[in-house]
């Protein structure tokens, strides 16, 4: 009774199962209730973020505190823009910095990681196993461990206090290469074979055949990379005010104390909303990539 699968159609993730095995109504309702309760608990802080951003000042300092806004207003956002336009480095400059840093980091990472993932996935050469194990190992510790020597290396390279100090380390994150390699491994070898017979070089195969076929993976890498880099304030790597990213300025506004509580609420909303929005747009592509994420023995 197996359903015939139409391979010509693109794979869908939210596929409907025609018949449910081993499912009871009682079990379904129990799971539904669990999800409703847990979902509400998970969403509550973010609901507070949204509501706070819309609250007028008097509601922000109300006792007893209310979660939901009574008289929504966009005052906080206009406050935030006023503070932004007051700063001596124009806000457009911060935005440009963020654009260059995240844009450079994303493009560099997607390009370099896919370029390295292709031979790791499809070629056989001495040292392949060790290199890939190194990448897996690098996912087993967080960047905090290597932060201090990384700072020294960046000073030696004399790229301290330039955009490159943030872009270059970001290009070599481990997880992107890992996900890309696992995804490429799933593609059938026959794709490359016919191109090879036609005399295409490995680099041409990579550009013309591999890259178009791993579109969901490079979208995923871009989104993950964006999530990593969006929160970066430049920290110790960027000293000049004109080089710092938007995130730095937003945090300066949040740190303004009670007088700026309204603007700070607006900032928190924007900081959270941007990555969530990107995820929302690319959700199905990301999930498609993650199907290949498993560590195989």
């Amino acid at each position: 009774m197996a359903r015939a699968i139409d391979y010509t159609k693109p794979r869908k993730f939210f596929r409907r199962r025609s018949k449910q095995l081993n499912r009871s109504v009682a079990g379904n309702s129990l799971l539904f209730v669990i999800m409703a309760v847990c979902g509400a608990a998970m969403a509550l802080p973010l609901i507070m973020v949204i509501n706070n951003a819309l609250k007028p000042l008097d509601e922000l300092f109300q006792f007893p505190p209310r979660i939901f806004v009574k008289n929504p207003t966009l005052e906080n956002f206009s406050d935030m823009f006023v503070i932004m336009t007051d700063s001596w480095v124009p806000v457009s400059r911060y935005m440009l910095n963020t654009l260059i840093i995240t844009g450079g980091g994303i493009m560099g990472h997607v390009l370099l990681a896919s370029l390295a993932a292709y031979p790791l996935a499809k070629h056989n050469f001495p040292g392949k196993g060790i290199l890939f194990q190194l990448v897996i190992l690098s996912m087993m510790f967080s960047w905090t461990v290597t932060q201090i020597p990384q700072y020294m290396i960046i000073s030696w390279m004399k790229i301290n206090n330039t955009y490159l100090a943030l872009i270059l380390p970001a290009c070599s994150f481990g997880m992107g290469l890992y996900l890309m390699k696992q995804f490429m491994e799933q593609l059938p070898d026959s794709l490359m074979e016919s191109a090879r017979l036609d005399g295409a070089s490995e680099f041409q195969i990579f550009i013309r055949i591999m890259m178009p076929n791993v579109k969901p993976a490079w979208l995923t890498l871009a989104i993950f990379q964006f999530q990593q880099m969006w929160g970066n304030t430049g920290g110790i790597f960027l000293r000049d005010e004109e080089l710092k990213p938007l995130q730095y300025m937003l945090q300066q506004i949040s740190a303004g104390g009670i007088a700026r509580a309204g603007a700070a609420a607006a900032v928190t909303f924007i900081v959270a909303a941007v990555p969530i929005m990107f995820f929302l747009i690319c959700q199905s592509n990301i999930l498609e990539t993650m199907t290949a994420s498993g560590i195989k023995e």
Binding site: A2, F61, L112, Y118, M139, F141, I153, S293
Partner: protein, 314 residues
């Protein structure tokens, strides 16, 4: 006959030549060319820093003078004299031992339940559970919930219900700091591993479930144990790496919610201690020793868990 033998000898010679490492490396030139850009950066920003940390951990180095070799002194000081390090190590282990496994199970549980839903509802639920982990530093909203005066939501609600008659300074009271850090960390922890589980569940071959039903699997719980978990073992291992690494690296949450230094160092973790020595006191040798300890903690527990998970279903 003679000719034939000659040819095959040549063929053997060619085959032997092709087996040598040098030939194989030469033949793979294009592969190495493609690997080079990424791995050069990877070497400079990941491999070299680890090696440097290990070397510096045996020195006294303040960034101004040339590093001085002092042997095991940093490590001896860490484990025998530095009470704050021992406290932060204890906090880190406690946080990791609780948030690591709990968040792992929550990821799996929620992913499994979400997989039972369909279409828009599933996409919506995925978003709700995943969103906290990507919302940047929006977890500062917990500061409003945990504010120490009566304007804090938690205090406000508890006082409204009559359970409290005086506001509690949640994050300034030693015994509440770690439990609240655990709660916030769990809220934040449904990240990449969670997505991998959701995706992994969707790839499981449906015919496995049909076969299991014929073999006498009666309900969804049995199905989970006998079919689903073994089928998604690769994702389980990937998720473990994500959750473990995350649970050892807790620092920003503690700094934002409890402050650095926190009350009696109740929220101190190995990473906050590392930041203290590395970015405030500039004792790079000592900070490196802390980093090395953290490195071995993270990698060690990851390798251990990988070994355990590999055994599942064998």
């Amino acid at each position: 006959m003679a000719e034939k033998v000659k040819v095959s000898k040549e063929a053997i010679a060619v085959a032997a030549r092709q087996k040598t490492l040098r030939y194989r490396i030469k033949r793979s030139k294009s592969s190495y060319m493609m690997l080079a850009p990424y791995f050069i950066l990877f070497f400079f920003f990941t491999v070299l820093p680890v090696i440097m940390s290990v070397i510096y951990s045996f020195t006294y180095y303040n960034m101004l003078e040339w590093p001085q070799f002092i042997g095991w002194k940093n490590y001896i000081k860490l484990f025998l004299e530095d009470d704050i390090f021992l406290l932060s190590l204890k906090n880190t282990l406690l946080l990791a031992v609780i948030t690591g496994p709990v968040s792992y199970i929550l990821c799996l549980l929620f992913a499994w339940i979400i997989n039972e839903f369909k279409g828009k509802l599933r996409a919506f639920l995925t978003l709700i559970f995943y969103a906290p982990s990507i919302c940047g530093n929006a977890y500062v909203v917990w500061n409003l919930i945990l504010t120490g005066d009566r304007y804090g939501y938690l205090n406000g609600i508890l006082m409204d219900l009559g359970l409290l008659d005086k506001a509690i300074q949640w994050m300034k009271t030693e015994k509440y700091v770690l439990p609240f850090l655990i709660v916030v960390q769990l809220w934040l922890s449904l990240g990449t591993g969670f997505l991998a589980f959701i995706a992994g569940l969707q790839t499981i071959d449906k015919s496995l479930y049909e076969a299991a039903a014929l073999d006498g699997v009666k309900n969804r719980w049995q199905e989970l144990w006998h079919v689903t978990l073994p089928a998604m073992k690769p994702q389980l291992m990937f998720g473990a790496v994500m959750q473990i690494t995350q649970s050892f690296a807790i620092a920003d949450v503690s700094i934002q919610l409890a402050g650095n230094p926190s009350v009696n160092y109740s929220g101190a973790t190995v990473v906050t201690h590392l930041l203290d020595y590395g970015t405030v006191r500039f004792e790079m040798g000592y900070a490196s020793a802390i980093a090395v300890v953290l490195f071995f903690l993270m990698v060690g527990s990851n390798l251990l868990v990988q070994k355990l998970l590999r055994r599942v279903g064998d």
